[in-house]
Symmetry: C2
Subunit: 320 residues, 2 copies
């Protein structure tokens, strides 16, 4: 009992006792059971549940890295959940992870099942919704406005004279960030007198190879496409390679635009037209907002982390 005092260093014991206790601790290899502390309700746990769609997407891997590193500096741990973009998996994961009394949750995306929303509200713990900026979040939110980023890309491409544009992405839940980007993109393109002639939504992962064969499908379905906007950079690289393999010159024969600005872009000889999002910073900010809330500091409810359009050289230089 006195041992508990010694280990927490709260005082009320003599130096002799402290030494005796520490000797026993060393000798027995004693590790405190933090479960008991949390269970007793004396303090909250140092778990933060973090749900991420998948790690095959480098972007989310970096967000998670940012989160976990920042949490680590505060002595907190991430409990991971890969929810594969589905609300159902997210709901199940939330139920499970809440039963472990986490100190808070960080969730990717703004759309949750009704039951999930209920549980989150009842849990009474901080929740940060990331990725998709949510102006009326459950609690806190950090991310970017995907609609706007798609819109900006659409405006940029049409400003270069592109009118007949294609889209290659993947389909998962309809209400996700990529769909918002596509919506913003279409709005800008159509507003400028262009047309998104074909939208291809593959039932596959949003990675390199689907980008490759998706481009093939798109171009065989609509030969007169002048430019393709991809769901992300990985798919755009796949498209770029398809063009190279088929002898299509980029940007002379066709324009290519991605989204997300993968690290590999930094060493490519040709800069991919894309949209940069500070992934690592996004993750760190999410963790900081969480920690701020847990330490009762004033925390902004909503943080727009911002994006930056990268003109690149895989689209033509200026209007025709």
């Amino acid at each position: 009992m006195t041992a508990s005092r010694v280990l927490r260093g709260e005082g009320g014991y003599s130096e002799d006792t402290r030494i005796k206790v520490m000797q026993q601790v060393d000798q027995l290899g004693y590790l405190p059971n933090r479960l008991a502390t949390v269970f007793a309700g004396d303090q909250s746990s140092t778990f933060i549940g973090v749900s991420i769609p998948d790690l095959g997407n480098e972007v989310f891997a970096q967000v998670l890295e940012g989160i976990d590193r920042k949490l680590g500096t505060f002595g907190y741990q991430s409990v991971l959940g890969l929810t594969q973009h589905t609300q159902e998996e997210e709901e199940n994961w939330i139920r499970t992870v809440l039963s472990w009394q986490p100190a808070g949750l960080i969730l990717t995306g703004r759309y949750h099942s009704p039951r999930a929303t209920d549980m989150l509200r009842n849990a009474g713990i901080p929740v940060v919704e990331i990725w998709d900026l949510n102006s009326s979040p459950l609690d806190m939110s950090v991310g970017i406005n995907h609609f706007d980023s798609g819109f900006d890309m659409g405006r940029y491409l049409t400003s270069l004279g592109y009118r007949r544009i294609g889209y290659v992405g993947t389909s998962h839940d309809t209400a996700n960030a990529a769909t918002e980007r596509l919506n913003g993109f279409c709005k800008a393109v159509e507003g400028a007198g262009g047309a998104v002639v074909k939208q291809l939504c593959l039932h596959d992962t949003a990675t390199y190879y689907p980008g490759f064969y998706g481009t093939e499908q798109l171009l065989s379905a609509a030969r007169d496409i002048e430019c393709i906007f991809f769901q992300n950079d990985a798919m755009a690289f796949g498209g770029l390679q398809y063009c190279a393999a088929k002898g299509l010159r980029v940007p002379d024969d066709i324009g290519i635009a991605g989204w997300g600005d993968l690290p590999i872009a930094s060493v490519m000889n040709r800069r991919l037209t894309s949209c940069h999002v500070p992934h690592l910073k996004l993750g760190q900010m999410a963790a900081e907002m969480m920690m701020g809330r847990l330490t009762d500091e004033p925390v902004p409810t909503c943080t727009d982390i911002g994006f930056r359009l990268i003109p690149g050289s895989t689209v033509r230089n200026s209007g025709v």
Copy 2:
């Protein structure tokens, strides 16, 4: 009390009671506190601590994905630890995560601090050491023999006639997998009458851009290098781009070999000489071994997941 029975469905209650209990559960939004169950010692937790060096490296992100998905199918959760390749961070993380009474641990690498080893032994829970195959593991191990994979690459490159070879990697703890690969590589090269003329170990992350400028450094220090072996594919891509930028033809002027076979390789017009490791499968296997041990099934102590040399076309075709 009867409620506990109803929720666990263990029987011994009437249908009327069941309905009444479930109504209350729905109404109150009751979620069981699994902490209490574990704490009472009636069952073990469903946490598995997973330590990974970093997620900037796509390879480890995929390993983690494999682990977490597989654990998820068994109703287990990963508690993440990014240990940045250092034993000290690993030890601290182990101490913390053990205090949460995890059901088991999955650790990257075979080298742990003495205290960490003590804690792991005393914890009395399953431990899987991944990545670096460990023939005498603490408990279980799954991975590949990195020395052998480096050796194979060295033998392959010398078989093509390369004699003056360079290496570009990063330095972290000396005793890690990349170092083992380099050791195997050097042994093979020297055994075949070649020489690893310069080994560059950058104090940076093992990613694209360090591969780019590392190549510059290496080539300016040793101009007569015929071929470069990189710590991983990301660095090799950086090297490839450096060569392209400087007008060095690959493989005519210089050979380039990476390691790890990144997904992006699948769409490159030129196949990077590399070594394929089934990352996702490695992670899944680690999770399966863990679950097997937890359900008292017989589990192999050591699983060699295997690698496959990819000849690629960034080195010359055959001996000079």
